[in-house]
Symmetry: C2
Amino acid sequence: MKIVLAQQNYHIGNFEANLARILDGIARAKQAGADLVVFSELCICGYPPRDFLEFEDFIAQCYAGVDRVRQEADTIGVIIGSPQRNPAPEGKALFNAAWLLYEKEIKGIAHKTCLPTYDVFDEYRYFEPGDSWKAIPFKGARIALTICEDIWNLGDNPLYRVCPMDQLITQAPDLMINISASPFDYDHDEDRKEVVRRNVLKYRLPMIYCNAIGSQTEIVFDGGSLVYNAQGELVRELNYFEEDFALVEIDEHATARNRPGVRAGVSAGIGLEISGPVPPLYEEILPGLSVVTQDTPPASAQAPGQAPAPELDKEMRVSRVRDPGKAMEYLVAENNIRQIHDALVLGVRDYFYKMGFVKAILGSSGGIDSAVTLALACEALGKEHVRAILLPSPYSSAHSVADAEELSRRLGNPHDIVPIGEVYESLLNTLKPIFADSPFGLAEENLQSRARGNLLMGIANKFGYILLNTSNKSELATGYGTLYGDMAGGLSVLGDVYKLQVYALARHINRDKEIIPASILSKAPSAELRPNQKDTDSLPEYDILDKVLYQYIEKRKGPKEIIAMGIDEALVRRVLKMVNTNEYKRNQFCPIIRVSGKAFGVGRRMPIVGKYLS
Amino acid sequence: MKIVLAQQNYHIGNFEANLARILDGIARAKQAGADLVVFSELCICGYPPRDFLEFEDFIAQCYAGVDRVRQEADTIGVIIGSPQRNPAPEGKALFNAAWLLYEKEIKGIAHKTCLPTYDVFDEYRYFEPGDSWKAIPFKGARIALTICEDIWNLGDNPLYRVCPMDQLITQAPDLMINISASPFDYDHDEDRKEVVRRNVLKYRLPMIYCNAIGSQTEIVFDGGSLVYNAQGELVRELNYFEEDFALVEIDEHATARNRPGVRAGVSAGIGLEISGPVPPLYEEILPGLSVVTQDTPPASAQAPGQAPAPELDKEMRVSRVRDPGKAMEYLVAENNIRQIHDALVLGVRDYFYKMGFVKAILGSSGGIDSAVTLALACEALGKEHVRAILLPSPYSSAHSVADAEELSRRLGNPHDIVPIGEVYESLLNTLKPIFADSPFGLAEENLQSRARGNLLMGIANKFGYILLNTSNKSELATGYGTLYGDMAGGLSVLGDVYKLQVYALARHINRDKEIIPASILSKAPSAELRPNQKDTDSLPEYDILDKVLYQYIEKRKGPKEIIAMGIDEALVRRVLKMVNTNEYKRNQFCPIIRVSGKAFGVGRRMPIVGKYLS
């Protein structure tokens, strides 16, 4: 049986665009002589559709989409994802469903059983878990069809009481197919292959695993669809961070012949060499922009059969957090930084593309955060579409302006200098009757930062730019930033990247030639809102700060556990208090492109009036 | 059996404060000679604790709290709510549990079975549903103990497959006790009594229903704890929007004597007349402030036995949305407006109290929104703690300043005039090289709004005020506001109140004497950012706009359904598009005190890059 994996980039609620992509995939699969083409989870409406699912009108459009696909599923089988109404009176109104369409009929439907409801996932908000499981006959084979999380319920400590494959295996299927919308994060990327492999070894069946790619506001789906044979060998790995399309040939009788012994499953590899990105997404709005490509899949740290088991930690199983032993070296490991780079570029590009925006603006301070943001934005959107504004104040050092100018010269993007002195003076003058003789302090620092925010937003509003935010995760965590000032912006590029990782990203960007001037990497971080200010006036050194933050945010370690790692108690308590008392600031922050296992934003929900550790 | 209902105001994560309240409640219940004292859901840690629950350290503190309470539960039974670890390897790590403590022992634990995961609720994110049910023996009676949503699974179209009371009733209990953290909204307030009454009639048992009160960031818990006898008669209704404490006497043998006939349940009423607020919450930080009191419980529209059934709509059962027939009259009905008023006052007061803030600031424009916000803030915090800043521009009308001044004179709160002209001119002048000769437009309007935001935040930062936001729900829905300008602030008072409801609130505030000048109510709404600007230049008239918004936001009606109500198609499509294209703005907005069945914020989760109806 010839099966195509169509790894595509969908847009939430954009039924027309999603359907066009899917129909294109079906046409190409037919051309390639495929028996079956597999798309990803909820591809009809895009994932995650969130509360759009509460609109009957939205569900009706999903059904119309399925119906349209069914018309094309004549001589070829098509597996798509789309919500299905729950006919039972009890329970949630919908199922998260995978549909097998063939001969213009619905041949089978699988309901997602394990509904992720943690971190960025809210599936139990909308869906009833599946409670019956049936292998679907197709062209003489029996397909065990599951959806994303359904195959993740492994180990001694599973998150769900029911494991769908344990049910399906009793029906002697020949093949597992899983359709996914599994997001990228560098803390998690190795788990996916391991989970697929473990399923293959446990059930002794080949698996087709088709993932989505593309960024949806803050969540980056990275593709990397997989085909394993029944021996647990990786037969095919699709590209990461871009659309891809691959045909594989399965010996669908192998499992039946070998039953109950070892099953052969997937044949040696690819029948027809049609592969690679489908027609470019972005050219229509960003002409001349080359799509990010990765010639070889990233070198995986794990060879089949040798990987350490990704255990689900009992206390922490609300998200899949591994052993916290790996620490700071891990955060800046070259493999992680390269993936973060690719995820951020895709995240910026897709945000603009899907929102219908073309041009970005940002404040370029001569510091490392704005430098890295600017370089990433130029890569994502094209240098001519990214305008850097230098906003020096009386407290800016001369080298800051020079460094920012040099950076834009090297990148070749437009830049302007807009000094904030006059605006700042007018603010101080206007407030003089109120401020009276109070000494210079935080209020005056914030006035400068907000003057910059106002000027940047003014230019953005005038000419239709979107303001990119340049804050990093260490700043956001500690509240070291000004609301409506440097915290302004429509999209945060580095908000899930710790300061030490920002440096590593800069070195990665400079790996072939020095794009970001060395002086930007070497200077001490400063907000430059008063004379000789340094970040370390208010914050611990970043190497210790980031360590504490990572243990607290990503690993959910409490103060006692972090102190037990040998970090000064007063420092730990001070840092955790900074994090918890600044929820109110982050609550007003823009979407952050998520690259870690625990990003600020939709996946981390903390009470604002909470009094814990604060 | 004498039972005390302790209706208290908890603070999320503030174990010390919560424990102090609970121990005080136990001491008072002992004094009153009670056999049993009942507190509300998750009272040990406060509700909703959100992702604090992912911290083992937090759970350990919950256990320590339960243990402390157990020491006091010697001669009196105590029912409290606190998370319990799930000992099973499968499933989520925690249960949402109710604990019956007595004779310094844990006598029984009930696990919440129906876990609300819709709107503002995320319980399945943290908790495993209960899967065994046991009536708990206590002093010769058998208590069917449930938690909040557990008793809501009624009707022909239930949201959950399992109904815990259907299990418990088989064990012949004598009494139902439900501990809740059930928030207020005006779309939902009548449901609660009806649900309790229906349970009583269905199971023919008396019910003690103990709710929390107090606001947690955006969610207002309104109290109104209930006691019904087994005939479905309301025996006791505790106060709304304030702490309360009541002792009732139950004839615990009545049900057994009468089994299987009609059960008598609760005796005529209250044994001892100890009732009323526990020691005032706020006096320590807001001396002299009188706590809001409501002498009589609100007149319920429904007498027992006559109420219309609150049906769970099949399509919309992800939240409890009733028939959309009631429309605009309902939104401004006096009973709703009075409750909204009380909820907003409590919401403001608790936000400040729990965050440790005392003083508020706001921009007072002479318009209706800032006038109502100011009046509510003065009531919540005391007039001397609310500073109004008038920020006239060259486009402000003379009467705007005069009206705003008159309002503050009547309220007696401090106010200042800070003209924005100089700041605005400096912004224009600084941007002149960039803006060149482009005509005056939205960018210039936004500069003014953000100049105000910057000046207000400057004063707030200098003197420790919290900026109250004055945007209403109609503006937020349509994106008729400036990010970092009039959308700035730490807390939104009116963000869940449609414009027509703001007028109704103003009339309610003026019900005894004219506090808000009549001229503020009568003038046409305007942002005053260009000459002779009116809201209706950009928006439909509010009476039609609010109608469309209510159907779309609260009732989740699609365009076709709203058009079918007789509203112009182009207008409907334009309004829905405005709502959906402005998710990005609302995403950066501050917490909104929630009073409706569907508020913007944590309970409404829409994709930002979505392309639906936009």
